[in-house]
């Protein structure tokens, strides 16, 4: 009986610490989930005379992947993202965030280009509107142009298979 209270307190503490260990403090829930994707109009990386705006993707489920040639974990996720894009299940648009177009193009020709197209966001203005704070980030946008999911940090096969793929499949089934 004497030890019941300290033991109970200890167990509660361990449970809370256990939960705390599993949480990722870097993962901040985005207020943009369920909201229309912020608009922008920025030059394409490979065709600077042409602008791209998210409006153009209306009616399609698509991914916006924020990347940069200076970003180390982008390199890490690149192979998995490329493999995923190759299945053709969803189109991936790249947002080249705060990067030099020359460096970015070199990076893509070296590692392969999984993107439908990339957008050059040299000053990070679109990134700011999309609440980007840790490159790489991946957004899933539905046919109506609403953001449905955000992955902060590099994607891996597990996330792609268990989170992104099922979501894309459900969204593909929705009416536009």
């Amino acid at each position: 009986m004497r030890y019941l209270l300290p033991l109970g307190a200890f167990i509660v503490l361990v449970i809370f610490l256990g939960i705390g260990l599993k949480l990722d403090p870097k993962e901040v829930p985005s207020p943009l989930i369920g909201k229309p994707a912020p608009q922008f109009s920025l030059p394409q990386l490979h065709a600077p005379e042409q602008n791209f705006s998210p409006e153009q993707m209306k009616g399609k489920v698509w991914l916006l992947n924020v990347w940069a040639s200076w970003c180390v974990s982008c390199r890490e996720e690149h192979i998995h993202l490329s493999e995923f894009a190759r299945t053709g299940i969803v189109e991936v648009v790249g947002l080249n965030y705060k990067d030099e177009p020359e460096d970015a193009k070199k990076w893509l020709s070296l590692l392969g280009n999984p993107y439908l197209l990339s957008i050059s966001d040299k000053e990070g203005k679109a990134g700011l509107d999309w609440g980007v704070y840790g490159v790489p980030e991946t957004f899933v946008i539905d046919k109506k142009g609403v953001i449905r999911h955000k992955q902060t940090g590099p994607v891996n096969p597990e996330i792609l298979q268990n989170v992104i793929l099922p979501l894309v499949q459900t969204l593909n089934g929705e009416a536009s």
């Binding site: 901040v28 985005s30 207020p31 700011l128 999309w130 704070y133 840790g134």
Partner: protein, 149 residues
């Protein structure tokens, strides 16, 4: 050796990134800039506000605060601009809502719990401790009586 050390110290200082200073024509605006950047939290260095952080994102956000202030937006509008993009997480003082209730109530509850524990211990200590049976008490009285005789 000494010279090398001095050079090292001097050199390492010059490597520190500097926080860009913005010029304000209106000191009241500068004051508001100070207040806002101290209240907004950096998402990269999560334990720093954007006034103190050297992270590139913090730099961008400071620039944005400066820009919006000069556009004549109110503090509330600027805070809204930030929370629309980054959520309540950017606020060092998040608003009181059902999701943040535990955040606001936990300190009060902890103090109350502590006070209760303290009170319980004190009460226990105040009580005279008697575990003597009647037979023992009789024997004590007997012994005391014998001593005084």
């Amino acid at each position: 050796m000494k010279l090398a050390m001095i050079l090292l110290v001097l050199f390492s200082c010059s490597l520190h990134a500097e926080i860009k200073i913005y010029d304000f024509k209106d000191p009241a605006l500068e004051q508001r800039y100070q207040g806002l950047t101290e209240e907004l939290r950096c998402l990269v260095c999560q334990n720093q506000n954007i006034a103190d952080s050297h992270a590139e994102l913090a730099e961008d956000l400071r620039g944005k605060v400066y820009e919006l202030l000069n556009k004549g937006e109110s503090d509330a509008q600027i805070v809204e601009y930030m929370t629309n993009r980054y959520g309540d997480f950017v606020l060092y003082r998040p608003p009181l809502k059902s999701k943040t209730l535990i955040l606001w109530l936990a300190p009060i509850l902890t103090v109350l719990l502590g006070a209760f524990g303290f009170w319980a211990v004190l009460r226990k200590r105040d009580k005279p401790q008697e575990h003597l049976s009647d037979a023992e008490r009789r024997r004590i009285e007997e012994l005391l009586k014998r001593k005084s005789e």
